[in-house]
Symmetry: C2
Subunit: 248 residues, 2 copies
């Protein structure tokens, strides 16, 4: 079946719904037709587009970088230390360097790091069915965006190539950056101050800020994606309240 747009998907109602939905919104003769400029699709990343088990890849990056910087720690110590330990780790490994230096550090790590179960580079641990969905939507005139809890700068070092997305459509959590004119010219220095934790109810706010349009497709895999899914559904549902009554 070479004409199957989603060959990696099993023949389920979910697959059928997706294919029918895409056909309807791209057919100018359909009552559900959506102009190309309004075909916005948003995706979570960790657990939705690539593996998040056994541990977030970015956390492994941070642990490896901490060791490289002479301050080794372990997952066990991190769990024991709670949020304070995590903030300290992020400050150590994600701040005090320029955006160019951080970009290079991520790329170096990605070149050698291997997923503990699959033994492959992390950017190879993406879900084939989701790549097919991204491709189907892209060919159907959608603009696909990532709204993830992962760090924007970290994701942009690999997600663009792997998912075929320009950097501006890869949005995650962000720390502040400080502009300065150094000896080598202007640069942005990453600070330890987290400006946006891009999870939960923050996701619709980030979508509003970065896209400025309500999506008509959203994909996520945890409760951290619920608000993003809710924010998307309303545009597709004639009567939202009958589908998802407001929480008390």
């Amino acid at each position: 079946m070479s004409a199957d747009p989603l060959p990696g998907w099993r023949e389920t109602p979910a697959k059928q719904s997706i294919v029918e939905f895409v056909a309807a919104v791209t057919d100018p003769g359909s009552p559900d037709f959506v102009p190309e400029r309004d075909r916005i699709a948003v995706f979570d990343n960790d657990g939705t587009l690539w593996t998040e088990q056994p541990v977030y890849a970015q956390l492994i990056f941070a642990l490896d970088r901490a060791a490289e910087l002479g301050h080794p720690t372990s997952l066990e110590e991190l769990h024991a230390g709670g949020m304070a330990a995590l903030i300290k780790l992020v400050a150590l490994t994600h701040a005090g360097i320029t955006t160019d230096e951080f970009d290079a550090a991520c790329r170096n790590w990605l070149a050698s790091a291997r997923h503990p179960r699959f033994g492959r580079p992390y950017p190879a641990t993406v879900y084939q069915p989701m790549l097919e969905l991204l491709g189907l939507l892209d060919r159907s005139g959608f603009s696909c965006w990532i709204f993830s809890g992962g760090g924007t700068d970290f994701m942009r070092t690999w997600a663009g190539d792997v998912y075929g997305l320009p950097p501006h459509r890869v949005i995650g959590s962000v720390g502040e950056t400080d502009f300065r004119v150094g000896d080598d010219g202007p640069e942005l220095v990453k600070s330890a101050t987290v400006q946006v934790m891009n999870d939960g109810p923050q996701k619709p706010s980030s979508i509003h800020r970065h896209v400025g349009q309500r999506p008509i497709v959203a994909a996520g895999n945890t409760d951290g994606d619920l608000a993003m899914l809710q924010w998307t559904v309303i545009d597709m549902a004639a009567d939202w309240a009958t589908i998802h009554p407001p929480a008390a």
Copy 2:
């Protein structure tokens, strides 16, 4: 001269530089060729693309809206009250309503408001030569973005149509928004907390966050645009330091 890409520009070295630059970066045979995906151009708005005299349009919107809400104030009172008065005015006129309601309020205002000197709607007080420049860059494969001190939500109600830009490429100052599921479904409520004042050194940080690429063209008209211009020039200059020595 129908072939003139910038007919509203006088024949000056500035115009010639722009035309030659665009020709060079779009010519695959040129040593200065830049692939289309890297042709990023960033523009300030107030005073660069449209008038900012005698008063920022958005400030007039705020004063008109304050009066409509039963809390009239004047420019004189605002000046006398300083930053505290301005913050109070912004909270009154830009917060506590949903993004959809704010969008409608802006559009209503724009439909009737007239520029005090020209007697025309504000979106008609844009600079013809700059519209031509946006058009030339767009036709030449550039992605043009706005990075302004004005409010993102306010600008997006008119800038898209006037400048031919999708909402995601219109970026300004932003307040936080709070997601909630109301009686009519999910909505975003604008809060009075300013998250980003998009001016000065913040502009390169915003460009990094929203675009994720260094621009190769930047246009601004005040010192609030200096950092954005510096952040852009480095990519075009073989030796930045000889052009703009670092400040002491």
